[in-house]
């Protein structure tokens, strides 16, 4: 099978890229041919990136859109790519890949990620590509663009969920609801108020070291 992973993040040290690299490795271990399209590295404004995307997608039987949440939705770079593909939809006519999505943010609750998954689903419908579901991960800020292996407790939900997602994609199945639930659990099983208190304490301590204040 041939899978295209699209990395829709503007960051240099991108957690989305870390997640995509992990998923790619798992898919390849299952025998899939994987191509990663990364406009941050290639430059989305470059029309040749869009043309290359269209050519690559013509040969793919599965597409996974990966994007962080910026202000409640996928960032500009991800939406610009979806719009570019939609405007080239005639070139992709009669090509029907399975569509999956992965989104994430520092916030733990999955409700923050819901608009992004809805957007991927609407995009699939507009393109005529069957939506196979998506996963939403929270608490991903500590990854800071590093490989997921060796990240310890911060990725203890992420890695097994991505493992299962790779198998699901490989079998071209819809993302099962128990995997959606598992992926959306907090990586650190503490009450929300404690997590907020710990994070604010760490931020205040860092501010004191730097001699600054603010909201």
């Amino acid at each position: 099978m041939s899978v295209v992973l699209f990395v829709g993040s503007p960051r240099v040290r991108s957690n989305t890229r870390s997640i995509a690299a992990f998923l790619r490795e798992r898919l390849e271990s299952l025998g899939a041919d994987v191509v990663t399209l990364d406009p941050k590295r290639a430059g989305l404004d470059d029309e040749s990136f869009v043309s290359r995307s269209v050519d690559t997608l013509r040969g793919a039987d599965t597409i996974v859109i990966l994007a962080p949440v910026y202000f409640d939705a996928p960032p500009h770079v991800a939406l610009a790519w979806l719009r570019a593909l939609w405007s080239h939809r005639e070139a992709l006519d009669r090509h029907v890949p399975a569509l999956y999505g992965v989104t994430h943010s520092g916030y733990f609750e999955s409700i923050h990620k819901r608009p992004s998954l809805e957007t991927f689903e609407h995009f699939g419908r507009a393109m005529g590509w069957p939506w196979h579901g998506g996963l939403a991960f929270g608490g991903t800020s500590p990854i800071d663009g590093r490989p997921l292996e060796g990240m310890g407790p911060f990725t203890r939900r992420l890695r097994p969920s991505l493992d299962r997602l790779a198998r699901t994609i490989h079998e071209r199945r819809a993302v099962p609801s128990d995997l959606v639930r598992e992926a959306s659990k907090r990586p650190i099983p503490l009450p929300k108020r404690w997590i907020v208190w710990i994070m604010n304490t760490m931020i205040r301590a860092a501010r004191r070291r730097k001699g600054r204040g603010g909201p």
Binding site: A73, V77, L79, E109, M199
Partner: protein
């Protein structure tokens, strides 16, 4: 005080109906005699967010362009209007490029708001939010519903005093829809 409008209603993707919506929005705001600042994203110089996160600490973006000026106006206005075509239930990328740059509105510290984790707002309790989205011809109603939910999410995110979402489509009365949206946010100001 006053209203700030970030508008992608005049971009090529938006179409003629969105142009009428843009005219109606400007006309109705002007008729109220209030201070209105408009950033027309068709012409504006707005770079995409780098995702560097430095605004979280500093409260301002490292990029210098039209959005640097607008974010200062937004911090002191009491109504923000986000207007543009709806694409896949969310903002068109031209508008989203500006919306991503609103991240400095969020403070660095966290809080729990309506049971959810959020950043503390840097300018609490000032803004009302109005979303104006133009649904493309043939798009399913589900995209309009996603857009309305998105505006609700934005309002919660920035701790807005109130919000309204208006969806413009071929079937409806543009002037009436925008007037109703402005009135709903007027009441919350």
């Amino acid at each position: 005080m006053g209203t700030v409008v970030l508008s992608a209603l005049r971009i090529a993707d938006a179409g003629e109906l969105a142009g009428r919506a843009s005219d109606a929005l400007h006309r109705l705001l002007e008729s109220k005699g209030e201070v209105v600042q408009v950033l027309d994203l068709e012409e504006a110089d707005v770079s995409p967010c780098l995702g560097c996160g430095r605004c979280s600490e500093a409260g301002e973006c490292v990029l210098r362009d039209d959005m640097s000026r607008m974010i200062r106006l937004i911090a002191s206005c009491d109504r923000l209007v986000l207007a543009g075509p709806i694409l896949f239930g969310t903002h068109h990328p031209t508008l989203k490029r500006a919306v991503d740059r609103l991240l400095p509105l969020a403070g660095e510290l966290f809080t729990i708001r309506r049971g959810e984790m959020h950043h503390r707002p840097r300018h609490p309790g000032r803004l009302c939010l109005l979303g104006v989205g133009k649904l493309r011809e043939g798009a399913p109603q589900a995209e309009a519903e996603s857009f309305e939910r998105l505006i609700g999410r934005h309002a919660l995110n920035i701790a807005a005093r109130g919000h309204a979402a208006v969806v413009i489509s071929e079937a409806g009365d543009v002037d009436e829809a925008i007037r109703a949206g402005l009135e709903r946010t007027e009441r919350d100001r």
